[in-house]
Symmetry: none
Subunit: 200 residues, 4 copies
DNA sequence: GATGAATGAGGCTTCATTCAT
DNA sequence: TATGAATGAAGCCTCATTCAT
């Protein structure tokens, strides 16, 4: 009885996790639906009971992972008051996730951004929500006199995200990941932006 | 006469320019070789007299555009001595190019990254050369005492490029391009990184 | 039930038989995969569930038909002791098959040789096995004193096969098949080789 | 003046000889017209001043080589009276040519026979003329009482040709040509057919 | 005659998706 | 729900041939 919904969720998760791995390994276009099915231990057709199509799998992964990310971020920032500290926490949290869920990170960063459809049609609301947290930090810092008022929070937000993201991508793409440490990168990026924002 | 080599180069350029537009409009995967041929006003097969295959067109665009970029960057930075000024010039130059060659920028930023992972074999030397100019600016600024020595030029370089790139992409993707000005973005990003680098 | 494997085999046979007809009619190069699919009553893609590619269809036909031929030959020669009689049986059996499975014979004789790849890379083991039966007859005839020992079984084998094959091809190519009778041809070829082999 | 026709013939021969080599090496279908042009040292288009199309090159090679063959055969048989001797001479001459003009032989035997169009539409008159010489030998032998009258010269002719041809093909296909000697094969095939024809 | 750049028809194969069981 | 055999649209590329020079 109560097992059925659980099983259903299980199978959906099974497919999602398999898809993350396959997408990370081969890339979205190269990944075949049957690859995902095989890795998930289900039939090809079964996938279409849980997802509309191949792209829907990718977008679902995005939504689900972003939900987790948003929850975690809220916890991470909870109780931290100083805007500069909040920025440092944001950067560290971001890279913590990249390190912990490397396959998912690879899919999100490499695949999702590269989906032309994603970039041109899909509205990544969850991503904006995530980044919006940063923009809010900036705005509050400005309101409270910590940050210069002549910085456009919107521009700073995309710049900050771009910096984090590019470094994450380079880290992910480098086979050995020893060219630099994510922790160092997080601190340096956070520090640069904090210095760049600070009211003198 | 001397017209023949010119005509030959013309045809290649014709195809390249057509490809830039088609790739920018539809994306690499969605672009059909026959779309490019039609827009260039040549037969499908003619393309294969100048390019090995569809992917070769994309990579050729990358190489050619990066060459132009590298030359232009050298001119832009020529005679500018102060590291902070050089960083400002770099950012402005980058966005000047994005604004002037919007289609090419779109292809470079959106499509080429498609290859990043999938064309695992391709080494974007020209991109590294371009970014290397920035890393050198940082390193020289450190040597001359302008910049803090505890910043990793490599990390700063990728962060700076990511910030510029993300903002360029957002500008390119926003249909009306009036959410923010590229010039403002260039100055703010440059300023943030300069402040973040400056020795106190 | 037990129907499923049968149905699967059926579909493969359906494709094979359709391919035999199409190859015989148009030749391997001219035959389009979609022709075969249409004649078999399946979709183009279905063919690729059973065969690796177009060439694989041709080679599979070869393998399958040769298996049938080898089995039939064993039955035909069973209990026949005299080497000369065995040679006669061999020739008659060969032409029996050509007459009964004209399309298949046409494919085997005309098309298979067409494939340069086939001739230069594919090792037609089954054909050698088939011809090896003849070489063995010759060798045994020599051992038992029926045949001259100065004939090279290998040379005689290829000569015999060439003679049979050329006559079969001429018969197949002649539209009405009334220029000569396969039976007469079989007997004359067999008789010539027997006389040519006999110890005096 | 008289140089022009010579040059013209030269260029045509240049192309023919290049084609023989390319066809022998790659096979007719795999051979590209530009390969032939390159090897002949002419432009692609030039070939079409001398030949109607690619197939015309192949057929021209066939016609030309067969003319040479027919002339040589006449010389070889000149003054040889005994039918059995004439058959021996025929076989030896045939293999002499195969050995001497291996590339041409490969083209004639492998490619020409394999052209579906050739086999089904082209009437190889010259080949029939060549084989007709053999049929005439048989018929004369029968008339003069040397050969059994119950052999069908037509059937024997194709059988003899098939035997010779198959052995030649095996010799041509075997890389090192040391599995058997063409001379031995010629004698054995001739001897077998002579024995098989002889009136007792 | 000679060139060779340009043409463009043509086909094998893949793989996301469906649907009868 | 689950299956997986079947579908069939879609597109890159080759290369024989042409024709303006």
């Amino acid at each position: 009885m109560s097992e059925l919904p659980a099983k259903k969720a299980d199978k959906r998760n099974l497919i999602t996790e398999a898809a993350v791995e396959v997408f990370a390994e081969k890339g979205f276009r190269q990944a075949r639906v049957s690859d995902i099915a095989r890795k998930a231990g289900v039939a090809d057709g079964t996938i279409y009971l849980y997802f509309k199509n191949k792209e829907d799998i990718l977008l679902s992964i995005f939504e689900e992972k972003m939900d987790i990310l948003l929850e975690g971020l809220a916890v991470e920032l909870d109780g931290v008051d100083d805007p500069a500290d909040r920025i440092r926490r944001f950067a560290r949290f971001h890279y913590q996730q990249v390190r912990t869920n490397r396959a998912a990170a690879e899919v999100l960063q490499v695949e999702l951004r590269l989906s032309h459809k994603f970039l041109k049609e899909y509205r990544p609301e969850k991503l904006w929500e995530y980044l919006g947290v940063f923009a809010t930090i900036v705005r509050e810092g400005q309101d409270r006199g910590h940050f210069r008022k002549d910085r456009d929070p919107f521009v700073v937000m995309w710049g900050f995200f771009g910096a984090l993201d590019e470094l994450a991508m380079q880290w992910v793409l480098s086979k050995k990941n020893d060219r630099f440490s994510l922790e160092v990168a997080a601190d340096q990026v956070a520090d640069i932006f904090i210095k760049g924002l600070e009211a003198t």
